[in-house]
Symmetry: C2
Subunit: 345 residues, 2 copies
């Protein structure tokens, strides 16, 4: 059976399930509007460890363990852990995988990592290669600032387009339809399909304007999904993007409209929702951990509870490196999309 | 049908095919013993571009295009490109994907990237999610030295355990068994299974002794493969590792022997074969491009020609970052394995 649809999409006939998830976030994220929904909010973003990088890795490892514990499983019970983060050589995920000791498939998609992991792992599950697996992603404000921008100690001011990298990690557990797991956190959630992103680059070179860099990728993947599946935007109760922020969202609307799709009405941007206005984060949150933790803390529980029936989860990633920026390169971006539905199982 | 075997392995019942491959290497690699087998050897490792990073990305893009051209295809004809490299945020692969404009799944497994891509893409192919896809990986001596060690301009001496990062990129084209492609480069090659690696860390902290850091991961994956499939080492005509080098290979033999497997006889290390002794590269080659280009230039053609029937392709990656090294972290490593066979099709 051919599971490919259109230019870049696919269906998952066996309907891999999302059975649990967990999110572990930083202090500031805990003070935001979703604060009481995260599984763990830390009071000290170092977790008492020696570096922010160690803390980020520990958050990801903990999110994986927590998500598994919710279904009474341990890392040794899974077929693979797939994930990544923003740091060079994805050390957060690599070091987390060292502690978890599971088979590990490392991916890099910048802030699109959670969607990349979900769709790739869902395809492996549908294909018969996994009965139980975990997808995860993490980011950390302090590790990202020194990786991509300036040392925090400099106290550099942020420009008006800046977004704040979310300190947070989240993990979601996928089970095959044949895995007759009981006592799950989510009894009704499946990934029914998805769209693999193409890299887009509109020539943005400002690393403080990621929303604008990523908007073309988001629009490209959303439109490809709608075209491939032959559905209108309101086929989805929500079209969720990861971290376009205020400016990036407006750009994305325009780009989609130019292709005949009005996605403004049912659009939800995780980056715009994770902080409140009085937290002064300018254009909102960003980072792998942003959409991953909002997915885990808000979207999956609400979907499972019946608040909506079907969402398109589109995470966007900016594929720059500190070196490519210094060399004057523009910022290519990519967006991957997962169709997540509530189904009576 | 359950395709999982044992602790970390899987079979691919539909036998995805490797139909073509291409390798594009640097000047020094072209002067080595495999020099006349690579598809392209450049005379200037910058390719006349402004940076080594741009050159590396161009090499990867070119390897993908070349591999596709051998079967009279173009990037627009494939379902996805999966690949990565060693640089921060895998910019070589990301920028190559921008030029190719195919759906892109970015992976990070350090020097294990080619095997990680091959097995993941082969699973997606077997699962019905791809009819034609490309896997690729690249590395570049000059971009790696400044990423991981010292600026070349310093003229730092290499210690006796050092390996040289190969300047090279390679790509392999996978086709599903249902894809009745004619006029292929390789008519008889399939990926029949594989083993997903677990991260291993024996506490090595010396970034100039990668072979020792990676040997435990190689031994772990090789032994897992042999156990999961229930076969002796000589089930494979060759057990190929990526870049353990001289010291790392000896360590790997000892570790396998401690588990009851003698793999010395049929072991082949790409890093030990890509340069000749008079090229003075100490312990051999390393980097994503090392095993990827040797696979493309030597192993796949020889396997297709009948020189051997079945190989275990085990690429090992050291999951360090420059930052994790500076922070005193040890070097975790991972190895992924693909079973590549000659079958009359």
């Amino acid at each position: 059976m051919d599971k490919k649809i259109g230019s870049a999409s696919f269906i998952l006939p066996s309907l891999p399930r999302i059975v649990s998830s967990a999110a572990f976030v930083g202090k500031k994220e805990g003070e935001g509007p979703l604060g009481n929904r995260f599984d763990v909010v830390c009071r000290d973003d170092t977790l008492g460890l020696e570096s922010w990088e160690q803390a980020e890795s520990r958050m990801l490892e903990s999110a994986v363990r927590l998500a598994l514990r919710k279904i009474d499983k341990e890392p040794k019970d899974i077929d693979h852990f797939m994930g990544g983060d923003l740091l060079s050589q994805i050390i957060s995920a690599g070091f987390a995988a060292r502690e978890l000791q599971t088979p590990f498939i490392g991916v890099y998609g910048a802030c699109s990592t959670m969607a990349e992991s979900l769709i790739t792992s869902a395809m492996l599950t549908d294909g018969g290669f996994s009965s139980l697996s975990v997808c995860g992603a993490s980011s950390h404000f302090s590790s990202s600032e020194r990786e991509f921008r300036y040392p925090l100690e400099m106290g550099t001011q942020s420009p008006p387009t800046a977004q704040r990298t979310v300190t947070g990690a989240a993990a979601a557990v996928l089970a095959s339809s044949k895995n007759k797991l009981k006592d799950v956190q989510y009894g009704n959630l499946v990934i029914s399909g998805g769209t693999i992103g193409r890299v887009r680059d509109y020539g943005i070179t400002d690393a403080s304007n990621m929303g604008a860099a990523m908007a073309p990728a988001a629009a490209s993947t959303i439109c490809a999904n709608l075209e491939d599946f032959g559905v209108p935007p309101d086929y989805y109760d929500l079209i969720v993007t990861g971290d376009l922020g205020s400016f990036g969202s407006e750009m994305m609307y325009e780009l989609c409209r130019s292709k005949g799709y009005d996605v403004r009405v049912n659009h939800f941007d995780c980056g715009k929702e994770i902080y409140s206005e009085d937290q002064k984060v300018i254009c909102g949150g960003s980072g792998c951990g942003c959409c991953a933790s909002v997915l885990s803390a808000k979207l999956l529980p609400e979907l499972n509870a019946g608040d909506y029936d079907r969402i398109l989860f589109v995470a966007t990633g900016a594929l720059l490196s500190p070196l490519s920026s210094l060399q004057g390169e523009s910022i290519p971006s990519i967006a991957h999309a997962a169709v997540i539905e509530r189904r009576a199982l």
